[in-house]
Protein backbone atom coordinates (compact mmCIF):
# COMPACT_ATOMS: atom_id res chain seq x y z
CA UNK A 1 0.00 0.00 0.00
CA UNK A 2 1.24 3.46 -0.80
CA UNK A 3 1.62 6.15 1.83
CA UNK A 4 -0.91 9.04 1.99
CA UNK A 5 -0.09 11.36 4.92
CA UNK A 6 -3.17 12.77 6.71
CA UNK A 7 -1.88 16.35 6.89
CA UNK A 8 -1.87 16.84 3.10
CA UNK A 9 -4.52 17.57 0.49
CA UNK A 10 -4.54 15.72 -2.83
CA UNK A 11 -5.67 16.39 -6.38
CA UNK A 12 -7.37 13.60 -8.30
CA UNK A 13 -4.45 13.96 -10.77
CA UNK A 14 -2.07 12.72 -8.00
CA UNK A 15 -0.44 15.95 -6.83
CA UNK A 16 -0.27 16.64 -3.10
CA UNK A 17 -0.47 20.14 -1.58
CA UNK A 18 0.60 21.40 1.84
CA UNK A 19 -0.07 24.87 3.27
CA UNK A 20 3.21 26.02 4.70
CA UNK A 21 3.61 29.56 6.06
CA UNK A 22 1.24 31.11 3.53
CA UNK A 23 2.62 29.14 0.57
CA UNK A 24 1.30 25.92 -0.96
CA UNK A 25 4.04 23.35 -1.48
CA UNK A 26 3.26 20.81 -4.24
CA UNK A 27 4.65 17.44 -5.19
CA UNK A 28 3.40 14.09 -6.47
CA UNK A 29 2.05 11.32 -4.27
CA UNK A 30 3.78 8.11 -3.28
CA UNK A 31 1.18 6.25 -5.35
CA UNK A 32 2.07 8.39 -8.39
CA UNK A 33 5.85 7.93 -8.08
CA UNK A 34 5.37 4.19 -7.68
CA UNK A 35 3.13 4.00 -10.75
CA UNK A 36 5.55 6.08 -12.84
CA UNK A 37 8.67 4.13 -11.90
CA UNK A 38 12.10 5.79 -11.82
CA UNK A 39 11.79 9.51 -12.50
CA UNK A 40 14.46 10.70 -14.94
CA UNK A 41 13.56 14.34 -15.60
CA UNK A 42 11.26 17.00 -14.16
CA UNK A 43 10.41 20.11 -16.18
CA UNK A 44 9.41 22.78 -13.65
CA UNK A 45 7.53 26.07 -14.11
CA UNK A 46 9.25 29.47 -13.92
CA UNK A 47 9.46 31.34 -10.64
CA UNK A 48 7.08 34.28 -10.86
CA UNK A 49 4.76 32.51 -13.31
CA UNK A 50 1.04 33.09 -12.69
CA UNK A 51 -0.93 29.85 -12.75
CA UNK A 52 -4.58 28.82 -12.70
CA UNK A 53 -5.88 25.92 -10.64
CA UNK A 54 -5.90 22.87 -12.90
CA UNK A 55 -3.37 24.32 -15.37
CA UNK A 56 -0.56 22.07 -16.69
CA UNK A 57 2.59 23.68 -15.36
CA UNK A 58 5.16 20.91 -15.10
CA UNK A 59 6.07 17.60 -16.69
CA UNK A 60 7.53 14.55 -15.01
CA UNK A 61 9.32 12.07 -17.27
CA UNK A 62 9.89 8.58 -15.92
CA UNK A 63 11.42 5.48 -17.46
CA UNK A 64 7.87 4.60 -18.44
CA UNK A 65 6.10 7.77 -19.62
CA UNK A 66 5.75 11.54 -19.54
CA UNK A 67 3.02 12.92 -17.28
CA UNK A 68 1.59 16.40 -16.88
CA UNK A 69 1.58 18.01 -13.47
CA UNK A 70 -1.32 20.36 -12.75
CA UNK A 71 -1.36 23.32 -10.37
CA UNK A 72 -3.67 22.27 -7.52
CA UNK A 73 -4.38 25.91 -6.66
CA UNK A 74 -4.13 29.19 -8.58
CA UNK A 75 -1.57 31.84 -7.69
CA UNK A 76 2.05 32.73 -8.35
CA UNK A 77 4.93 30.26 -8.45
CA UNK A 78 7.15 31.37 -5.59
CA UNK A 79 9.85 28.71 -5.64
CA UNK A 80 10.89 25.60 -7.56
CA UNK A 81 12.92 22.63 -6.35
CA UNK A 82 16.12 23.01 -8.35
CA UNK A 83 17.60 19.92 -6.67
CA UNK A 84 15.41 17.83 -9.01
CA UNK A 85 17.50 19.00 -11.98
CA UNK A 86 20.46 16.90 -10.88
CA UNK A 87 18.59 14.43 -8.73
CA UNK A 88 15.22 13.49 -10.24
CA UNK A 89 15.38 10.22 -8.29
CA UNK A 90 14.60 12.23 -5.12
CA UNK A 91 10.98 12.19 -6.30
CA UNK A 92 10.99 8.40 -5.90
CA UNK A 93 12.96 8.40 -2.67
CA UNK A 94 11.12 11.12 -0.76
CA UNK A 95 7.95 12.19 -2.60
CA UNK A 96 6.48 14.13 0.36
CA UNK A 97 9.72 15.74 1.55
CA UNK A 98 12.82 16.59 -0.50
CA UNK A 99 11.03 15.50 -3.67
CA UNK A 100 8.66 18.52 -3.71
CA UNK A 101 8.20 20.25 -7.11
CA UNK A 102 7.22 23.89 -6.57
CA UNK A 103 5.62 26.33 -4.15
CA UNK A 104 2.68 28.57 -5.06
CA UNK A 105 1.52 31.68 -3.23
CA UNK A 106 -2.22 31.08 -3.60
CA UNK A 107 -4.74 33.69 -4.66
CA UNK A 108 -7.05 32.16 -2.12
CA UNK A 109 -6.07 29.62 0.54
CA UNK A 110 -9.59 28.21 0.70
CA UNK A 111 -8.99 26.59 -2.72
CA UNK A 112 -7.14 23.88 -0.80
CA UNK A 113 -10.43 22.77 0.70
CA UNK A 114 -11.67 21.78 -2.73
CA UNK A 115 -8.94 19.12 -2.93
CA UNK A 116 -9.32 15.57 -1.62
CA UNK A 117 -8.40 14.64 1.91
CA UNK A 118 -6.09 11.67 2.54
CA UNK A 119 -8.92 9.21 3.02
CA UNK A 120 -10.75 10.15 -0.18
CA UNK A 121 -7.49 10.13 -2.16
CA UNK A 122 -6.47 6.71 -0.80
CA UNK A 123 -9.88 5.39 -1.87
CA UNK A 124 -9.34 6.76 -5.37
CA UNK A 125 -5.91 5.06 -5.60
CA UNK A 126 -7.36 1.77 -4.37
CA UNK A 127 -10.06 2.02 -7.04
CA UNK A 128 -7.47 2.73 -9.78
CA UNK A 129 -5.51 -0.36 -8.84
CA UNK A 130 -8.52 -2.62 -9.47
Amino acid sequence: MSDTPDDLRYASTHEWARLDDGGVVVGISDYAQDALGDVVYVELPEVGQEVQAGEEIAVVESVKAASDIYAPVGGVVEAINEALDDGPEIVNQDPYGDGWFFQITPDDETQLEELLDAEAYAEQCAAEQH
Partner: protein, 359 residues
Protein backbone atom coordinates in the same frame (compact mmCIF):
# COMPACT_ATOMS: atom_id res chain seq x y z
CA UNK B 1 -13.46 -12.93 -22.14
CA UNK B 2 -9.82 -11.86 -22.01
CA UNK B 3 -7.44 -14.73 -22.48
CA UNK B 4 -5.80 -15.99 -19.30
CA UNK B 5 -2.31 -14.55 -18.82
CA UNK B 6 0.44 -17.12 -19.11
CA UNK B 7 2.75 -17.43 -16.12
CA UNK B 8 6.34 -18.61 -16.23
CA UNK B 9 7.85 -21.18 -13.86
CA UNK B 10 9.50 -18.23 -12.08
CA UNK B 11 6.29 -16.26 -11.51
CA UNK B 12 6.12 -16.94 -7.77
CA UNK B 13 9.87 -16.41 -7.31
CA UNK B 14 9.62 -13.03 -9.05
CA UNK B 15 6.65 -11.94 -6.93
CA UNK B 16 8.53 -13.02 -3.79
CA UNK B 17 11.49 -10.90 -4.93
CA UNK B 18 9.22 -7.83 -5.09
CA UNK B 19 8.48 -7.79 -8.81
CA UNK B 20 6.05 -5.32 -10.25
CA UNK B 21 4.43 -7.40 -12.97
CA UNK B 22 3.36 -6.27 -16.43
CA UNK B 23 1.63 -7.94 -19.35
CA UNK B 24 3.79 -8.62 -22.40
CA UNK B 25 2.73 -10.73 -25.39
CA UNK B 26 0.10 -12.51 -23.30
CA UNK B 27 2.50 -13.26 -20.43
CA UNK B 28 2.70 -11.91 -16.92
CA UNK B 29 6.35 -10.86 -16.55
CA UNK B 30 8.37 -8.72 -14.14
CA UNK B 31 8.65 -5.08 -15.29
CA UNK B 32 11.01 -4.18 -12.45
CA UNK B 33 11.87 -5.17 -8.89
CA UNK B 34 11.79 -1.68 -7.37
CA UNK B 35 14.08 0.39 -9.57
CA UNK B 36 14.57 -0.22 -13.27
CA UNK B 37 17.61 2.07 -13.30
CA UNK B 38 19.28 0.24 -10.39
CA UNK B 39 18.75 -3.05 -12.27
CA UNK B 40 20.21 -1.56 -15.44
CA UNK B 41 23.31 -0.44 -13.52
CA UNK B 42 23.65 -3.83 -11.84
CA UNK B 43 23.88 -5.48 -15.28
CA UNK B 44 26.46 -2.95 -16.55
CA UNK B 45 28.55 -3.21 -13.36
CA UNK B 46 28.11 -6.79 -12.10
CA UNK B 47 25.38 -9.28 -13.00
CA UNK B 48 21.62 -9.25 -13.44
CA UNK B 49 19.16 -12.10 -13.86
CA UNK B 50 16.15 -11.97 -16.20
CA UNK B 51 13.21 -14.33 -16.55
CA UNK B 52 12.79 -14.59 -20.33
CA UNK B 53 10.75 -17.79 -20.33
CA UNK B 54 8.18 -16.13 -22.59
CA UNK B 55 10.55 -16.52 -25.56
CA UNK B 56 9.37 -19.07 -28.12
CA UNK B 57 11.64 -22.09 -28.58
CA UNK B 58 11.38 -24.41 -31.58
CA UNK B 59 13.42 -27.53 -32.19
CA UNK B 60 13.79 -28.85 -35.74
CA UNK B 61 15.12 -32.28 -36.49
CA UNK B 62 15.26 -34.78 -39.32
CA UNK B 63 16.86 -34.62 -42.77
CA UNK B 64 14.51 -31.81 -43.85
CA UNK B 65 15.55 -29.40 -41.07
CA UNK B 66 18.68 -28.01 -42.71
CA UNK B 67 17.14 -27.34 -46.17
CA UNK B 68 14.07 -25.79 -44.50
CA UNK B 69 16.15 -23.39 -42.39
CA UNK B 70 18.38 -22.50 -45.36
CA UNK B 71 15.17 -21.50 -47.16
CA UNK B 72 13.44 -19.50 -44.37
CA UNK B 73 16.38 -17.70 -42.71
CA UNK B 74 18.59 -14.90 -44.08
CA UNK B 75 21.63 -16.42 -42.42
CA UNK B 76 22.99 -19.72 -43.72
CA UNK B 77 22.81 -22.27 -40.90
CA UNK B 78 25.07 -24.55 -42.99
CA UNK B 79 27.85 -22.23 -41.79
CA UNK B 80 27.31 -23.45 -38.22
CA UNK B 81 30.24 -25.86 -38.28
CA UNK B 82 30.07 -27.08 -34.70
CA UNK B 83 27.46 -28.32 -32.29
CA UNK B 84 26.31 -25.45 -30.08
CA UNK B 85 27.27 -22.71 -32.51
CA UNK B 86 24.67 -19.92 -32.81
CA UNK B 87 23.65 -17.33 -35.37
CA UNK B 88 21.61 -14.14 -35.03
CA UNK B 89 19.37 -14.15 -38.08
CA UNK B 90 16.08 -13.07 -39.63
CA UNK B 91 12.97 -14.71 -41.05
CA UNK B 92 11.58 -12.74 -44.00
CA UNK B 93 8.37 -12.79 -45.99
CA UNK B 94 8.38 -12.76 -49.82
CA UNK B 95 8.62 -8.93 -49.86
CA UNK B 96 11.65 -9.12 -47.53
CA UNK B 97 9.63 -7.76 -44.60
CA UNK B 98 10.93 -9.06 -41.27
CA UNK B 99 8.64 -11.70 -39.72
CA UNK B 100 10.99 -12.00 -36.76
CA UNK B 101 14.59 -11.82 -35.65
CA UNK B 102 15.82 -14.97 -33.97
CA UNK B 103 18.73 -17.02 -32.76
CA UNK B 104 19.47 -20.29 -34.52
CA UNK B 105 21.57 -22.90 -32.68
CA UNK B 106 23.06 -26.05 -34.11
CA UNK B 107 22.38 -28.89 -31.68
CA UNK B 108 23.72 -32.43 -31.43
CA UNK B 109 20.60 -33.40 -33.33
CA UNK B 110 19.06 -30.77 -35.54
CA UNK B 111 18.60 -27.10 -34.78
CA UNK B 112 16.96 -24.86 -32.21
CA UNK B 113 15.33 -21.48 -32.95
CA UNK B 114 14.58 -18.91 -30.27
CA UNK B 115 12.01 -16.38 -31.43
CA UNK B 116 10.19 -13.42 -29.90
CA UNK B 117 7.16 -14.29 -27.77
CA UNK B 118 4.96 -11.89 -29.72
CA UNK B 119 5.82 -13.77 -32.93
CA UNK B 120 5.26 -17.29 -31.60
CA UNK B 121 2.33 -17.94 -33.95
CA UNK B 122 3.84 -16.16 -36.94
CA UNK B 123 7.14 -18.05 -36.74
CA UNK B 124 5.58 -21.39 -35.79
CA UNK B 125 3.05 -21.13 -38.60
CA UNK B 126 5.65 -20.10 -41.18
CA UNK B 127 7.80 -23.11 -40.30
CA UNK B 128 4.89 -25.55 -40.10
CA UNK B 129 3.53 -24.50 -43.49
CA UNK B 130 6.91 -25.19 -45.11
CA UNK B 131 8.08 -28.26 -43.20
CA UNK B 132 7.90 -31.48 -45.18
CA UNK B 133 7.34 -34.97 -43.75
CA UNK B 134 11.12 -35.33 -43.29
CA UNK B 135 11.22 -32.47 -40.72
CA UNK B 136 10.14 -32.77 -37.10
CA UNK B 137 9.08 -29.39 -35.72
CA UNK B 138 8.54 -29.21 -31.96
CA UNK B 139 7.68 -26.19 -29.91
CA UNK B 140 9.36 -26.64 -26.54
CA UNK B 141 7.86 -25.53 -23.26
CA UNK B 142 11.06 -24.60 -21.43
CA UNK B 143 12.05 -21.96 -18.93
CA UNK B 144 14.70 -19.46 -20.01
CA UNK B 145 16.86 -17.26 -17.83
CA UNK B 146 19.34 -14.63 -18.95
CA UNK B 147 22.28 -13.99 -16.63
CA UNK B 148 24.02 -10.89 -17.96
CA UNK B 149 26.85 -8.62 -16.91
CA UNK B 150 30.65 -8.48 -16.62
CA UNK B 151 30.54 -10.84 -13.61
CA UNK B 152 27.88 -13.17 -15.00
CA UNK B 153 30.17 -16.01 -16.14
CA UNK B 154 32.26 -15.98 -12.99
CA UNK B 155 29.13 -16.01 -10.88
CA UNK B 156 27.68 -18.95 -12.80
CA UNK B 157 30.94 -20.88 -12.67
CA UNK B 158 31.30 -20.36 -8.91
CA UNK B 159 27.85 -21.89 -8.50
CA UNK B 160 27.91 -24.66 -11.14
CA UNK B 161 31.45 -25.16 -12.46
CA UNK B 162 30.19 -26.08 -15.92
CA UNK B 163 32.98 -24.52 -17.98
CA UNK B 164 30.93 -21.74 -19.56
CA UNK B 165 33.88 -19.37 -19.11
CA UNK B 166 35.60 -21.33 -21.89
CA UNK B 167 32.67 -20.90 -24.27
CA UNK B 168 33.10 -18.41 -27.08
CA UNK B 169 30.40 -15.79 -27.68
CA UNK B 170 27.55 -17.25 -29.77
CA UNK B 171 28.34 -20.77 -28.68
CA UNK B 172 26.33 -23.04 -26.43
CA UNK B 173 26.96 -26.20 -24.43
CA UNK B 174 24.74 -28.62 -22.59
CA UNK B 175 24.72 -29.43 -18.89
CA UNK B 176 22.46 -32.45 -18.47
CA UNK B 177 19.23 -31.33 -20.12
CA UNK B 178 20.08 -27.64 -19.72
CA UNK B 179 21.36 -25.60 -22.64
CA UNK B 180 23.85 -22.86 -21.70
CA UNK B 181 24.46 -20.26 -24.41
CA UNK B 182 26.83 -17.31 -24.51
CA UNK B 183 24.19 -15.02 -25.93
CA UNK B 184 22.09 -12.17 -24.63
CA UNK B 185 20.29 -8.93 -25.29
CA UNK B 186 22.16 -6.44 -23.11
CA UNK B 187 25.52 -5.85 -24.79
CA UNK B 188 27.28 -7.49 -21.84
CA UNK B 189 28.88 -10.89 -21.48
CA UNK B 190 26.61 -13.52 -20.07
CA UNK B 191 24.51 -16.60 -20.56
CA UNK B 192 21.06 -17.52 -21.71
CA UNK B 193 19.98 -20.74 -20.06
CA UNK B 194 17.16 -22.92 -21.40
CA UNK B 195 16.03 -25.61 -18.98
CA UNK B 196 13.03 -27.65 -17.86
CA UNK B 197 10.46 -25.56 -15.99
CA UNK B 198 10.85 -27.70 -12.88
CA UNK B 199 14.54 -26.77 -12.60
CA UNK B 200 14.07 -23.02 -13.07
CA UNK B 201 13.17 -21.88 -9.52
CA UNK B 202 16.23 -23.69 -8.10
CA UNK B 203 18.57 -22.07 -10.63
CA UNK B 204 16.97 -18.66 -10.02
CA UNK B 205 17.36 -18.78 -6.24
CA UNK B 206 20.91 -20.12 -6.41
CA UNK B 207 22.04 -17.34 -8.77
CA UNK B 208 20.26 -14.65 -6.74
CA UNK B 209 21.88 -16.00 -3.56
CA UNK B 210 25.25 -15.79 -5.36
CA UNK B 211 24.69 -12.09 -6.03
CA UNK B 212 22.82 -11.77 -9.35
CA UNK B 213 20.34 -8.91 -9.21
CA UNK B 214 16.80 -9.79 -10.35
CA UNK B 215 16.06 -7.53 -13.32
CA UNK B 216 12.89 -6.85 -15.28
CA UNK B 217 11.70 -6.11 -18.79
CA UNK B 218 12.20 -2.38 -18.23
CA UNK B 219 15.95 -2.74 -17.72
CA UNK B 220 16.11 -5.27 -20.56
CA UNK B 221 14.75 -2.60 -22.91
CA UNK B 222 17.15 0.17 -21.84
CA UNK B 223 20.13 -2.22 -21.91
CA UNK B 224 19.37 -3.51 -25.40
CA UNK B 225 18.83 -0.03 -26.81
CA UNK B 226 22.09 1.30 -25.33
CA UNK B 227 23.81 -1.71 -26.92
CA UNK B 228 22.31 -0.81 -30.31
CA UNK B 229 20.14 -3.96 -30.47
CA UNK B 230 16.83 -3.61 -32.27
CA UNK B 231 13.45 -4.80 -31.06
CA UNK B 232 11.03 -6.51 -33.44
CA UNK B 233 7.65 -4.81 -33.43
CA UNK B 234 9.23 -1.41 -32.85
CA UNK B 235 12.48 -0.97 -34.78
CA UNK B 236 11.57 -3.52 -37.44
CA UNK B 237 8.43 -5.30 -38.53
CA UNK B 238 6.87 -7.20 -41.43
CA UNK B 239 6.75 -3.95 -43.45
CA UNK B 240 10.43 -3.12 -43.11
CA UNK B 241 13.34 -4.91 -44.70
CA UNK B 242 16.74 -5.73 -43.17
CA UNK B 243 18.20 -2.95 -45.33
CA UNK B 244 15.87 -0.50 -43.58
CA UNK B 245 16.60 -1.83 -40.09
CA UNK B 246 20.38 -1.66 -39.98
CA UNK B 247 20.56 -5.45 -40.35
CA UNK B 248 22.31 -5.82 -43.69
CA UNK B 249 25.13 -7.57 -41.83
CA UNK B 250 22.86 -10.52 -41.05
CA UNK B 251 22.35 -11.35 -44.75
CA UNK B 252 24.37 -14.21 -46.13
CA UNK B 253 24.39 -13.70 -49.91
CA UNK B 254 26.83 -16.54 -50.47
CA UNK B 255 26.40 -19.16 -51.80
CA UNK B 256 24.44 -17.50 -54.57
CA UNK B 257 22.30 -20.56 -55.27
CA UNK B 258 20.79 -20.47 -51.76
CA UNK B 259 17.36 -19.08 -52.54
CA UNK B 260 16.15 -17.88 -49.13
CA UNK B 261 12.69 -16.33 -48.90
CA UNK B 262 12.90 -12.59 -49.48
CA UNK B 263 16.20 -12.78 -51.34
CA UNK B 264 14.81 -11.56 -54.65
CA UNK B 265 13.02 -8.56 -53.09
CA UNK B 266 16.13 -7.74 -51.08
CA UNK B 267 18.40 -7.87 -54.11
CA UNK B 268 16.04 -5.51 -55.92
CA UNK B 269 15.97 -3.08 -52.99
CA UNK B 270 19.74 -3.29 -52.56
CA UNK B 271 20.14 -2.31 -56.22
CA UNK B 272 17.61 0.53 -56.08
CA UNK B 273 18.44 1.75 -52.60
CA UNK B 274 16.14 1.57 -49.58
CA UNK B 275 13.98 4.67 -49.05
CA UNK B 276 14.48 4.73 -45.28
CA UNK B 277 17.12 3.66 -42.79
CA UNK B 278 17.28 3.17 -39.06
CA UNK B 279 19.44 5.84 -37.41
CA UNK B 280 20.56 6.43 -33.87
CA UNK B 281 19.42 9.67 -32.25
CA UNK B 282 20.92 11.47 -29.28
CA UNK B 283 18.79 14.19 -27.70
CA UNK B 284 20.73 17.38 -27.04
CA UNK B 285 18.57 18.86 -24.28
CA UNK B 286 16.59 17.45 -21.39
CA UNK B 287 13.57 15.28 -21.97
CA UNK B 288 12.98 11.76 -23.20
CA UNK B 289 12.72 10.42 -26.75
CA UNK B 290 9.89 7.90 -27.07
CA UNK B 291 8.47 5.74 -29.85
CA UNK B 292 6.12 7.60 -32.20
CA UNK B 293 7.65 11.07 -31.90
CA UNK B 294 8.14 12.90 -35.21
CA UNK B 295 11.67 13.63 -36.37
CA UNK B 296 12.45 16.49 -38.77
CA UNK B 297 15.59 16.64 -40.91
CA UNK B 298 16.61 18.70 -43.94
CA UNK B 299 16.06 15.56 -46.04
CA UNK B 300 12.54 14.89 -44.78
CA UNK B 301 10.55 13.54 -41.87
CA UNK B 302 10.77 10.34 -39.92
CA UNK B 303 9.69 8.76 -36.67
CA UNK B 304 11.25 7.54 -33.43
CA UNK B 305 10.82 3.74 -33.33
CA UNK B 306 12.03 3.28 -29.75
CA UNK B 307 13.50 5.73 -27.29
CA UNK B 308 14.69 5.72 -23.70
CA UNK B 309 16.49 7.72 -21.09
CA UNK B 310 19.93 6.09 -21.04
CA UNK B 311 20.97 5.38 -17.45
CA UNK B 312 24.61 4.94 -18.52
CA UNK B 313 24.85 8.17 -20.53
CA UNK B 314 22.50 10.35 -18.49
CA UNK B 315 20.55 11.57 -21.51
CA UNK B 316 17.99 10.29 -23.96
CA UNK B 317 18.76 8.08 -26.96
CA UNK B 318 16.62 6.44 -29.62
CA UNK B 319 16.33 4.61 -32.89
CA UNK B 320 14.51 6.53 -35.61
CA UNK B 321 13.38 5.60 -39.11
CA UNK B 322 14.46 8.44 -41.43
CA UNK B 323 15.06 9.08 -45.12
CA UNK B 324 18.18 7.10 -46.09
CA UNK B 325 20.07 10.26 -47.05
CA UNK B 326 19.35 12.05 -43.76
CA UNK B 327 22.32 13.80 -42.23
CA UNK B 328 23.23 16.75 -40.10
CA UNK B 329 21.19 18.16 -37.25
CA UNK B 330 17.68 16.89 -36.61
CA UNK B 331 14.77 18.06 -34.52
CA UNK B 332 12.29 15.92 -32.60
CA UNK B 333 8.79 17.01 -31.69
CA UNK B 334 8.45 16.24 -28.00
CA UNK B 335 5.09 17.18 -26.56
CA UNK B 336 4.64 19.82 -29.23
CA UNK B 337 8.08 21.41 -28.80
CA UNK B 338 11.00 21.08 -31.21
CA UNK B 339 14.16 19.81 -29.56
CA UNK B 340 17.56 19.39 -31.16
CA UNK B 341 19.01 15.92 -31.68
CA UNK B 342 22.10 14.45 -33.37
CA UNK B 343 22.07 11.59 -35.85
CA UNK B 344 24.50 8.92 -34.72
CA UNK B 345 25.66 5.42 -35.55
CA UNK B 346 24.91 2.92 -32.75
CA UNK B 347 25.86 1.16 -30.50
CA UNK B 348 25.37 3.95 -27.99
CA UNK B 349 27.25 2.23 -25.15
CA UNK B 350 29.99 -0.38 -25.13
CA UNK B 351 31.63 -1.64 -21.93
CA UNK B 352 29.91 1.09 -19.97
CA UNK B 353 31.31 3.92 -22.15
CA UNK B 354 29.80 6.10 -24.88
CA UNK B 355 30.44 4.35 -28.21
CA UNK B 356 28.36 6.16 -30.85
CA UNK B 357 29.71 8.08 -33.81
CA UNK B 358 28.05 11.26 -35.00
CA UNK B 359 26.97 11.10 -38.64
Amino acid sequence: MPEELRKTALHDACIAAGAKMATFAGWSLPLHFGSQIAEHRAVRAAAGLFDVSHMAIFDLDGPGALPLLRRVLTGDVARLANEGQALYTLMLNQSAGIIDDLLAYRQGHGYRLVANAANRQAVGGWLKDRAGPDTTLTERNLAMLALQGPQALELFEDAYGAGTDRLKPFHAMTLGDWMLARTGYTGEAGLEIMLPNADAPGLWSRLVAAGAAPAGLGARDTLRLEAGLKLHGQDMDADTTPLQAGLRWTLHWQPEERDFIGREALAKQAAEGAPTQLFGLVLEGRGVLRGGQRVLTDQGEGVVTSGIFSPTLGYSIAFARLPSNASGPAEVLIRGKRQGASLVRPPFVRRGQPAFKTI
